[in-house]
Amino acid sequence: MKSEMDKLIVSSSPHIFVKEDVSYAMRQVIYALIPATLAGVYFFGLYSLWVILVSIISAVLWEAFALFLRKKPLNILLDFSAVVTGLLLALTLPPKVPLWIPVIGSGVAILLGKQVFGGLGDNFLNPALVGRAFLLSSYPQIMTSWIEPIHKIGGMVSQASPLTSTATPLAIVKLKLTGYQLPSYWHLFIGDIPGCIGETSALLLLLGGVYLIYKEIVDWRIPLSYILTVFIISLLFGKDPIFQILAGGLFLGAFFMATDWVTTPLTKKGKVIFGIGAGFFTMVIRLFGIYPEGVSYGILVMNALTPLIDRTIKPRKFGEVRK
């Protein structure tokens, strides 16, 4: 018995833990994004797959580089957060961007969006959105060049040649562009419309989002309050609310970016406030800003406000004496 004793582990309770760790959660996010990713490749062609792969691989390499500089163990890469960042960034890029765009974008995302603050957990802005915001303001031309989908669902052949430049539905409405036809709700829902690689299929993003909610990785409060806020503000300002929620990057943002653990509030109440705020700022930009789309900046603004929300909104303590 003595020799066995020497090996007994003594540690503070609890002695059992859930299996689901950070790496597990990140992998679930990747799985949840696969349908929308594949749809993007189907709609916009094999080139977008290259964009996605370059974005993911460069994000992982940038992460490795940063960990090396910071003298951190490389097994941190196994948390898969760099893969998620690279994938999310790629999904927010137009399909025909040159391949150096995801390399630069993921570099900014990983280095300036995350690692300078101390890595995963210490970043206060969503890294993928930092990368995208940087690209959008540095290369506005490239970042707003769109193509028609090469495949359409339901046998409809696109009238324009795939390489012809086009405009996103939100841009058509916002900039009152003529000569373009607005897609129907159905096409907005399934996603065979011009847009960023992974943002167009509300249906498949919803599917992935519901999966993450079921897996208890995403709190439903954020996407619901976000989308509902966009819907209500659209109604109030006389916009078509269904068009406003389906067109653009709202579903990608609401289910996969506004739900990033690190950069959103800790409490349920705080999460609702986050969703409402993101919806509000998204609509402020869409209605009054110069950009047709406001999801990225809407979420980034709320990321920045998250520390304030967490400082203000506390859960109700058990047995707290009501004053």
Binding site: M1, E4, M5, K7, L8, I9, V10, S11, S12, S13, P14, H15, I16, F17, V18, E20, D21, V22, Y24, A25, I76, D79, G118, G119, L120, G121, D122, D219, W261, V262, T263, T264, P265, L266, T267, K268, K271, D310, K314, P315, R316, K317, F318, G319, E320, V321
Partner: protein, 437 residues
């Protein structure tokens, strides 16, 4: 009856199937018994015997002057071999009385055989319970006579017996409910009589439906059974009261403050048994289980039995042990010495193999908020842990760190594997130490 539930909590794998169908058995008298002077919450006791003294079974061998304490007794007859420092389940070495049993089981002659509590006054019953060394058998081992002596201004209207047994693996309370239902009801009636209470409730999680059915046969209209959802920490006093009566014990308060006294079903059995046999609390039920013992058991063991004997009774280790836990895996304490004796608060011994006794390297908090969601006290564990690490104890106190019941739900759920509870404990200890200064 209507159940109100409580916010938060977790659903760890129950693992009760390992031992739930195994009836309670006794084990052979061990060659030595070590009765520690720290058995319970409150003042430790002073030995009343010397080495080489002969002691009878049930003879008082240690007591203290304080109100919050309970005497200790010789679990069997024999000779006091040594009074020395022995390993306590809490990890420290404390003074203990080692008894070498003579195997005769000679009962202390002064023990009263009168078994009728009905003729005793509540005050006399309290005294008997104190003298019998009865403490809460759920784990915290709070002296029972203190619990049932509320200050006169606190009106108690309900007694709840805790049969939730929400800790994974443990099945001893379940077995007691199946095997000794009449003693549980009897014990509850004694408590109701002492406190002048008309309403008794037995709270049981819905994963123990057969226990509910058995107990139903022994109760009358004065006692109700509350079937609770299976959720950890349902067996926490505060959450039991909240779930059954929708009353919240105020921060820093006691169940007394909302008119309730909660006792474990095991404690009720101990009280009823005392008034039947006259014997003090010298044995208790212990579940010995875990994937790493060959045949998990529910045992009735003498206080002071070394843990090695319990593991022997459960068929020994299956493979090399990695961790031995006194109590359940959520709140229990990992021990390191196979001589560590059973104390009055030992409800179970759970053995993990080296493979199952995982240690995880923590990573940065990813702010998922799961710890906040599961905290049954409505706290923000990750923020509390952060404050403690930065030595911001004032901020931690303002955020309610002292309300933490140390259930470990936050630590269990954390995907970053952060030892949140460990930091919170450090913070609580530091704050309380500073207060004492």
């Amino acid at each position: 009856m209507k159940i109100y539930g409580f916010k938060g909590g977790v659903h760890p794998p129950e693992k009760k199937e390992l031992s739930k169908d195994i009836p309670i058995t006794k084990i052979p008298l061990p060659e030595k018994l070590i009765v520690l002077t720290v058995q319970h919450t409150g003042a430790s006791v002073t030995p009343l015997v010397k080495p080489k003294d002969y002691v009878f079974k049930g003879q008082k061998i240690g007591d203290a002057q304080a109100f919050v304490t309970a005497p200790i007794h010789a679990p069997t007859s024999g000779t006091v071999k040594r009074i020395a420092l022995y390993p306590h389940p809490n990890g420290r070495n404390v003074l203990g009385i080692e008894i070498e049993p003579d195997g005769k089981e000679e009962i202390f002659p002064d023990i009263s055989k009168d078994s009728s509590w009905q003729n005793l006054s509540p005050e006399d019953i309290r005294k008997r319970i104190r003298e019998a060394g009865i403490v809460g058998l759920g784990g915290a081992a709070f002296p029972t006579h203190v619990k049932i002596s509320p200050p006169p201004e606190k009106k108690i209207d309900t007694i709840i017996l805790n049969g939730a047994e929400c800790e994974p693996y443990l099945t001893i309370d379940y077995r007691l409910m199946l095997e000794k239902p009449q003693l549980i009801v009897e014990g509850l009636r004694i408590l109701m009589y002492v406190l002048g209470v008309k309403k008794g409730i037995i709270g049981i999680e819905n994963n123990k439906k057969d226990a509910v059915e058995v107990l139903r046969k022994y109760i009358d209209s004065d006692i109700e059974i509350a079937i609770l959802p299976t959720k950890y920490p349902q067996g926490s006093e505060k959450h039991l009261i909240k779930a059954i009566l929708d009353r919240e014990v105020p921060s820093g308060g006691l169940p007394l403050d909302v008119g309730v006294v909660v006792n474990n079903v095991g404690t009720a059995v101990a009280i009823a048994e005392h008034f039947k046999t006259g014997l003090p609390l010298i044995s208790r039920g212990v579940t010995v289980t875990g994937e790493n013992v060959n045949s998990p058991k529910n045992l009735d063991v003498l206080i002071g039995t070394p843990v090695s004997k319990l593991i022997e009774a459960a068929g020994g280790f299956r493979e090399k042990p990695g961790k031995i836990i006194f109590g359940g895996p959520m709140m229990g304490i990992a021990i390191y010495d196979m001589d560590t004796p059973v104390i009055k608060g030992t409800s179970g011994v759970v053995v993990f193999s080296e493979k199952d006794a995982k240690y995880y390297e923590p990573v940065e908090c990813v702010r998922c908020g799961k710890c906040v969601d599961v905290c049954p006290m409505g706290l923000m564990p990750t923020i509390l842990a952060k404050y403690v690490r930065k030595d911001k104890l004032i901020e931690a106190e303002e955020l309610g760190i002292l309300d933490c019941i140390e259930c470990g739900s936050c630590n269990y759920i954390c995907p970053s594997r952060r030892p949140l509870l460990q930091w919170i404990r450090v913070g609580k200890t530091d704050i309380l130490a500073k207060r004492r200064k």
